[in-house]
Amino acid sequence: MHAIHAMWLREVKRYLRSRVQIIASLAQPMMYLLILGFGLSPVFQQAGQGNYIQFVAPGVVGMSVLFSSVFSGVGLLFDRQFGFLKETLVAPVPRALIMIGRTLGSATNAVLQGTLVLTVCIIAGFRPASLAQLPLAFGFMILIAIVFAALGTAMGSVLKDMQGFQIIMNFIVMPIFFLSGALFPLTNLPPVLKILTSIDPLSYGIDGLRTELINISHFGASVDFTVLVIAAVAFISLGSYLFSKIEI
């Protein structure tokens, strides 16, 4: 328990100390929200789907949680490069606990980042449907963060250097984002896209956020919740297994 807490605290401290990075990582979600948001708004409106800013804001929050949790998880690579990883690998603590501590730390950072993005969205004109449902929205943010921090740690355990990071970004993280329905509604999609979007765990995260923030739901909140919990358990198990197999 102490080990989990120590590793968690370390991740959170590192995040809070990297102020420049916190601000810098706001840029991308803001471009999606403001440029894409206002740019596509007229078309979206004409198609009878309502206000695009309202629609895309939960997607942008989910996106920032996805990116920061994966990055934070893959931070394992930096620790490999700078050596701190060894210190945790020889510690007399089951490696699964180290992995869980790291993952929870990364997830916490992602939720903080998501909260920051949500705040900026509200400043930019986004209006959540009901304040009473905000805690549930946070619940979904936490689940998304845990799922993808665990996935990030799992991937970080397998990669040997920073070159693999690009591959992960382009072939795993970006597809997860684009297939999640963060930018478009999941209704009336071509069959192939329909299948791909429904096997993307982030689709359920974004859907959950949308359910709680703007009362638009595709799968239903209980389906979203169940899928995310299963994905979290699966990725944490996978991550712990891969992390415990690391050799240096």
């Binding site: 102490h2 120590a6 370390r10 401290k13 590192r14 050596g83 020889v90 007399p92």
Partner: protein, 262 residues
């Protein structure tokens, strides 16, 4: 305390560690010497559960790292050859997280961290981020950290690399103290033969993954008919290089200057 039997580690065709056997009794300071790439660090990684051996057996305190990983990890401390600190944490935080991972109780942890940081003259900089430290300071911090949980076995992989003579002296002083007062078994590697000769009870010399000689410093010198450990080391490991490049003169000269420096 450490028992290694016919240990082998191969990477594809390359035999990094080739059938080595040795034992280190409790309370001994054992130096593992060899040229770069001889297999020292690979051996330490296998002893410290970071690598799985290809074949052969090893036990620490009677326990096999393969079956009792956590138990084995509780018993040793290690100072790695390359850095293993978190640069975004302060010196104190680096010590503290180590203490937590090794289950040192909070009060004892605070006391020991203070005394070790004072001992290694880092107490004034305890709240400084490690990334702002000089090479020597980082090294001292790593060594202080290795002492924090009073391990039964201490692995030191080239701990004095990049340290000034003052810090090196001080470090070996601490290691000897710890060995005498707590009966800590010490397994060290170094490229400084004078250090090995001064602190080690016994020495094994490894080259191309094989142990070429073992014994006390005196035994090694007698065996090679040399008068210093450095000369013995060169006699045991330097042959092939000397024969190939035929620069025996340079080696003699090096020995010569070494003698004059004393």
């Amino acid at each position: 305390m450490i028992r290694v039997h016919e240990l082998v580690k191969t990477y594809g065709e390359f035999r990094a560690v080739d059938n080595i056997s040795f034992t280190v009794p409790p309370g001994e300071i054992f130096a593992f010497l060899g040229p770069n790439g001889a297999g020292k660090t690979t051996t330490i990684k296998m002893l410290t559960t970071l690598l799985k051996p290809t074949s052969g057996s090893l036990t620490l305190d009677g326990l096999s790292p393969a079956t009792h990983q956590t138990e084995v990890r509780k018993r040793f401390g290690i100072v790695f050859q390359d850095p293993s600190l978190d640069g975004d944490l302060t010196a104190y935080e680096n010590m503290d997280i180590h203490g937590v991972l090794y289950a040192v109780p909070a009060r004892l942890r605070a006391e020991r961290i203070e005394s070790l940081l004072k001992l290694f003259e880092l107490w004034d900089r305890r709240d400084g981020f490690v990334k702002t430290f000089s090479g020597g300071m980082k090294r001292r911090l790593e060594i202080a950290r290795g002492f924090l949980h009073t391990p039964k076995i201490l692995f030191l992989d080239e701990p004095t690399l990049g340290l000034d003579p003052q810090s090196r002296n001080q470090l070996w002083g601490h290691v000897k103290n710890l060995n005498e007062s707590e009966k800590t078994t010490v397994f060290l590697t170094t490229h400084y033969m004078d250090e090995a000769e001064r602190v080690a009870h016994r020495i094994a010399i490894i080259d191309h993954g094989k142990i070429v000689a073992q014994g006390t410093p005196d035994e090694l010198k007698t065996q090679t008919k040399t008068d210093s450990l450095e000369a013995a080391f060169l006699a045991l490991t330097g042959n092939s290089i000397r024969d190939e490049s035929a620069n025996a003169g340079a080696d003699n000269l090096r020995q010569f200057t070494q003698m004059w420096r004393r």
